[in-house]
């Protein structure tokens, strides 16, 4: 029992020294890898959100039966196109999508259409995230009370204005948790981009262990770096949510003593209500 404990202490000590050695050898590569991972994940999630929002608007287009046939045809075709996009990119592995875009496009077009590694990686992750976000946005839009749309239509807004001014801001607030999910998934899943040679954190790990065989110490460091990145993103997203909720109370614009008696300017909301829920 005693010798086992000593062994374990020895193991931990060895792991520590291996990690120190690794860090002295290759810290810049790991940090650059982490930076590239984070940049790819953040940019691709943002672009994916824009694609998702746009597809979300397209999927809610509607027509009445009095409309011109061409309008109906255009709307139906657009919706079908969005559905195919979502099903294809949500239904296939991202690692293969990367192969298709990086190797497949030059193959099919006789090298006429080819992207460098970095561009291909950004396109694949963005388009993949967009497919997931399209469904998230559609769900978010469906969750907004129909009265909001009617209120906007009743003052003369068209579909686009209704979406941009009234529905999407509320949708965005409701889907932030899901955007966070996508961001965190992207931080981890961009590791599959090693297939086309994109140098991110996982690639840094692979290249280091290829030279030193320090598999486990490197895995510990890589794992910790992924966890730090995702944890920081989680905290920032919570903060963004909180900012979007706005202040809990409001000030009366005038000091009307009559108005004050009927006011509800201390109505508990946001933070206070959450505290109760805990």
């Amino acid at each position: 029992m005693g010798s086992e404990a000593t062994n374990f202490t020895d193991i931990i000590a060895k792991l520590g020294s291996d990690i120190v050695k690794l860090w002295q050898d290759a810290a810049p590569q790991y940090l650059k890898g982490a930076g590239d991972t984070l940049l790819l994940a953040v940019v691709a999630t943002a672009v994916g959100c824009l694609i998702g929002l746009y597809c979300g608007i397209l999927q809610t287009l509607s027509y009445s039966k009095n409309d011109f046939w061409l309008k109906k045809a255009v709307i139906n075709t657009t919706k079908a196109f969005v559905r195919v996009y979502v099903e294809v990119f949500r239904g296939t592995p991202m690692i293969l999508q990367a192969v298709f875009i990086f190797f497949g496009l030059p193959y099919l077009t006789g090298n006429a259409l080819r992207f460098d590694v970095i561009t291909a990686a950004y396109i694949v992750v963005s388009v993949n995230t967009g497919a997931y976000m399209a469904e998230t946005v559609r769900g978010g839009i469906l969750s907004i009370d129909k009265g909001q749309t009617e209120g906007a239509m009743a003052i003369g807004m068209n579909h686009f204005q209704t979406m941009v001014k009234v529905i999407l801001p509320q949708t965005l607030r409701n889907i932030i948790p899901q955007i966070g999910n996508n961001l965190i998934i992207n931080i981890k899943d961009t590791s599959v981009m090693f297939i086309i040679g994109y140098a991110e954190l996982f690639a840094a790990h692979k290249s280091y262990v290829g030279a030193t065989y320090l598999y486990f110490p490197s895995a510990v460091v890589t794992m910790a770096m992924y966890l730090i990145m995702t944890a920081v993103c989680s905290v920032l997203l919570r903060l963004w949510e909180h900012l979007m909720d706005g202040p809990e109370n409001f000030n009366l614009a005038t000091t009307d003593s009559l108005a004050l008696t009927s006011g509800m300017n201390n109505y508990p909301s946001g933070k206070r209500r959450k505290r109760w829920a805990r």
Binding site: A154, G156, Q170, N249, A253, A259
Partner: protein, 248 residues
């Protein structure tokens, strides 16, 4: 009165599937009229109002707005709706905006007014409904009656020709009904053309210039409040009103 016709509804019908909820409705709205539409739930009152604002597409019939059929494909519904205000039973204030923004957004996006102009206008109507102190509040921070007054101000700031009210007090508690009704009364006295679907018989009787009683998808009887409440001709109207006698 007939030369100031704003709206003329002819042979309007609306089906939901095989269920015909409006049957061949004809009626006219002239400038300055305050029309109350009364009737039991399910009689088609709200559907009629929603058809007038094109929130529902009528199955057949014609709605003439200053002589133009708004059901014609060439007429853009948003442009027409900007001239016909609507106040809903469930308020439908925009939850992502404060009171002031609620009253400004339509003016800036639909009417193309400048922010300053829209703000000035919004403040004017908000003070008319007694809600100018609450411009920074979000809808969820207001009581029902306050929300409905803001909704009225929002509709007014578009400066519509007609204002449609779809049971504006039905979601309110008895104490706050009064504050909304008094705003509507003031509005009616200022000469606003209004169509009000309501269960408030006192309002229909005292404020409106014409009362329409709807039953089972048709206009059963219409006339001045004195005629409808004092001397109803149809059996259905008498039966409906007798249920309210005890209350009023």
């Amino acid at each position: 009165m007939s030369d100031n016709v704003i709206l003329k509804v002819e042979h309007l019908s609306k089906d939901f599937g095989s269920n015909r909820v409006l049957k061949d409705i004809d009626f006219t709205v002239s400038q300055g009229e305050v029309i109350s539409i009364i009737g039991a739930s399910g009689s088609g009152k709200s559907t009629l109002l929603r058809c007038i604002n094109l929130l529902e597409t009528p199955t057949s019939g014609v709605i003439l707005y200053h002589g133009t059929n708004i059901l014609d494909r060439k007429v853009k519904p948003p442009k027409y709706r900007s001239k016909v205000g609507m106040v809903f039973q469930s308020f439908n204030l925009f939850n992502n905006m404060n009171v002031l923004k609620n009253c400004m957004v339509g003016q800036t996006t639909v009417l193309g007014k400048s922010k300053e102009e829209a703000k000035e206008n919004a403040l004017k109507y908000l003070s008319n409904v007694g809600m100018d102190a609450y411009i920074k509040a979000k809808p969820k921070q207001l009581s029902g009656g306050q929300k409905q007054r803001v909704a009225i101000a929002r509709a007014l700031s578009m400066e519509p020709e007609i204002l449609l009210f779809d049971e504006p007090t039905s979601a309110l508690d008895p104490e706050t009904v009064g504050e909304v009704l008094s705003v509507m009364k003031t509005l009616a006295e200022s000469g606003m053309t209004m169509i009000v679907v309501t269960h408030e018989m006192a309002f229909a009787k005292d404020v409106s210039t014409r009362v329409i009683y709807m039953n089972d998808g048709i206009i059963c009887e219409e006339g001045t409040p004195e005629q409808i409440f004092g001397d109803p001709q149809k059996g259905e109207t008498k039966a409906f009103l007798s249920r309210f006698r005890g209350v009023n």
